[in-house]
């Protein structure tokens, strides 16, 4: 009798064990993170290192999340929207990544956001500036980190109208980005009661800006706003210097990085621009990050690199909070989350439009004589709080779908 009992008990236990084994979830797939960025196109000098920033963020997080090692891949989209679209599809389908980071170039960013929506996987954009990502084209799986065109224009715009003068003249790169910036800059100027004396639309890649510079000079503004980037910014500012404009007015720019100053010497000295971060910042963890970066690359990181580091770190933390790598729970863990890190102190991921907002910094390029340390090219002259630097989420035009 006793032996029969034991036998039955053993069979029961064995069958339970068997069922447990069979039904046990398959060994968890490790979390796979990817960076899709411009590594050989026009922005390569700024965004190429975002790959390294993501790697560093994963390593600093311990290389593991939910007890599993984190895998990492990256792709180069060469700043071409069609390539970005193709690579994003490949990353989500073939590589089975859980998230794509970065992606400069607004058209490329919008294409990848669409892929994220189709595949129901996360996309955390750092590099592209378009407000459409968190506006009319927003979706549940797409987040935007650290900056957008509205913030670039509004922060320095409000500050300049108050501190530099209310009579402006603009020179705008004649494509979607320039037009968008011009709109936001004029709104900021209007809000402060200033006047726009004139605007010049200039074809992309123009090498001779002198006629526009002369027109601007004759209008006698307090502030000249150059709504261009990269080589157009260097060419137009070089030629403004030639005509001695800086003795008469202040110049503000739409977008500029420490690498731009390194590459052009004293061309930009005395000019103003908005930044999402500066490497001399004393936010928590910022100094350590900069030290580590300098040791590895012999130069400090730009704010795009810091933003990528922050985005990857906050994503990993959200995975831990959600206790799963499944997209929707992670999205929920990110939405409305408030945090303090090297980039944003404090930072908030708005649930309404998925925009990560923090302080905007007004940076002034130092004169050559004021630069005591290599790469210390900017001085932070003002801080604009997120409430002023970013558009009210009610006005962005984003209708966030509620997928459950």
């Amino acid at each position: 009798m006793e032996r029969k009992c034991y036998a039955i008990l053993t069979i029961c236990l064995l069958s339970i064990a068997f069922f447990l084994l069979v039904n046990a979830p398959a060994v968890a797939e490790p979390l796979k993170i990817s960076v899709l960025t411009d590594m050989s196109g026009p922005y390569a000098g700024i965004t190429g290192a975002n790959v390294e920033a993501a790697k560093m963020a994963i390593a600093d997080f311990g290389g593991k999340v939910l007890g599993e090692p984190v895998e990492f891949v990256y792709r180069d989209h060469m700043c071409k929207p069609d390539v970005a679209n193709q690579k994003a599809k490949e990353l989500y389908e073939k590589e089975q990544v859980d998230v794509i980071f970065d992606c400069p170039n607004s058209a490329a960013g919008l294409a990848v956001a669409n892929q994220a929506k189709i595949h129901k996987k996360l996309f955390i954009n750092v590099g592209s500036g378009t407000t459409r990502l968190t506006g009319p084209d927003c979706n549940r799986y797409t987040f935007k980190w650290a900056y957008n065109d509205y913030m670039l224009a509004t922060a320095v715009g409000l500050w300049a109208a108050e501190n530099l003068g209310k009579k402006w003249y603009t020179i705008t790169a004649d494509y979607a980005w320039g037009h968008d910036l011009l709109h936001h800059f004029s709104e900021a100027l209007k809000a402060k009661g200033g006047t726009l004396l004139g605007n010049e639309m200039v074809a992309l890649g123009t090498s001779d800006f002198s006629p526009y510079i002369i027109k601007a000079m004759n209008a006698k503004p307090d502030v000249l706003v150059l709504l261009n980037a990269g080589k157009d910014a260097v060419n137009s500012t070089k030629q403004a210097n030639e005509f001695g404009l800086k003795n008469k007015l202040k110049i503000i720019h739409a977008l500029m990085f420490i690498e731009d100053i390194k590459a052009s010497g004293d061309v930009f000295a005395g000019d103003y621009v908005t930044g999402a971060w500066y490497w001399k910042s004393d936010n928590p963890g910022s100094k350590e990050f900069v030290e580590k970066w300098k040791k590895q690359f012999n130069k400090p990181p730009n704010w795009m690199n810091a933003a990528t580091y922050s985005a990857v770190t906050q994503y990993l933390k959200a995975v831990e909070r959600a206790k799963t790598k499944d997209a929707l729970p992670v999205v929920k863990a990110l939405e409305g989350h408030e945090f303090r890190d090297l980039l944003a102190n404090p930072g908030k991921i708005r649930a309404e439009d998925h925009m990560e907002v923090g302080n905007a910094y007004i940076l002034k390029a130092k004169q050559p004589g004021e630069i005591k340390e290599d790469w210390d090219f900017f001085e932070v002259v003002g801080i604009i709080p997120p409430g002023k630097a970013y558009q009210d989420p009610k006005e962005t035009g984003c209708k966030m779908e509620k997928t459950e």
Binding site: P42, A44, G45, I46, D174, E200, M201, V202, A203, G205, T206, S207, D208, S210, P211, Y212, I214, K215, N218, K231, V234, N235, K238, Q239, N241, E242, F243, G244, E259, D260, K262, A263, S264, G265, D266, V267
Partner: protein, 292 residues
Amino acid sequence: MNLQFVLMQLFNGLILGSLYVLLALGLSIIFGMLGIINFAHGAFFMLGAYAAYTITAYVIPDFWLALVCVPVLMAIFGAFCEMVLFRRLYELPSLYIMLLTFGLMLVLQDAVRLLFGSMGVPFSTPKSLTGMVNLGFMYYPSYRLFLIVVTSLTACAVWLFLSKTKLGCIIRAGTDNPKMLEALGIDISKTMTLVVGLGAGLAGLAGVLAAPIQNVRPLMGMDLLVDCFVVVVIGGMGSLGGSVVGGLIVGQIIAIGVMVWPPMANTLIYFFMAAFLLVRPRGLFGREAFHE
């Protein structure tokens, strides 16, 4: 639109035009002699600017030294390219050399990108030429005036060299008909080396001169090269006078376009070229032999 603005703009057109002239002259003599379009010409221009940067930043911070040395260095480099690369392909259809120059352009651009980074390098106007000059009717940056003077002197020197010296005579003859020149017992391979060297030297000079007013970066030659093809086509393939006149015309078209209709300023030259070719298929001073 006031008179001062128009005058200033015509001056700006002259500046742009004179850079085109320097580049187009080189393109044109190489085309005449070798029968090919040298795609690497924009890269020579870019190398000139980078060589000037290297000299002023690492050797002696003297713009004048760079202005003298760089064209010479670039001429040597061009001659070297001819002797080591181009020469091997003369027997093959000219398409092969064109492909070679295209490849050379890509190699040079990427080599510079590897060495100096894709962001470009700083280059300021020489101290003695900063500031503005009062011309009586307007103020104009002194560096730009200097640029006009140097390019016109160079264009004159090249013209004198080609029209008055024996060597120039050989080059002109070679531009006309290389086969006949060889039949007359002249060592044509040396002349070809010289021609490519001269072209590269002129491109290098243009590079140094453009460095203070433009962004020095690996792709700077690409933008100008396409415009220079337009110059050469308008001026007439292989014609030296055509390059000079064509360069000045294209410079002025862009400058006037900017005043009248800014968004179209860069496209206008292509319309002009198309219209011009309908009326005069061989360009201003082009010869029949090249087209028929």
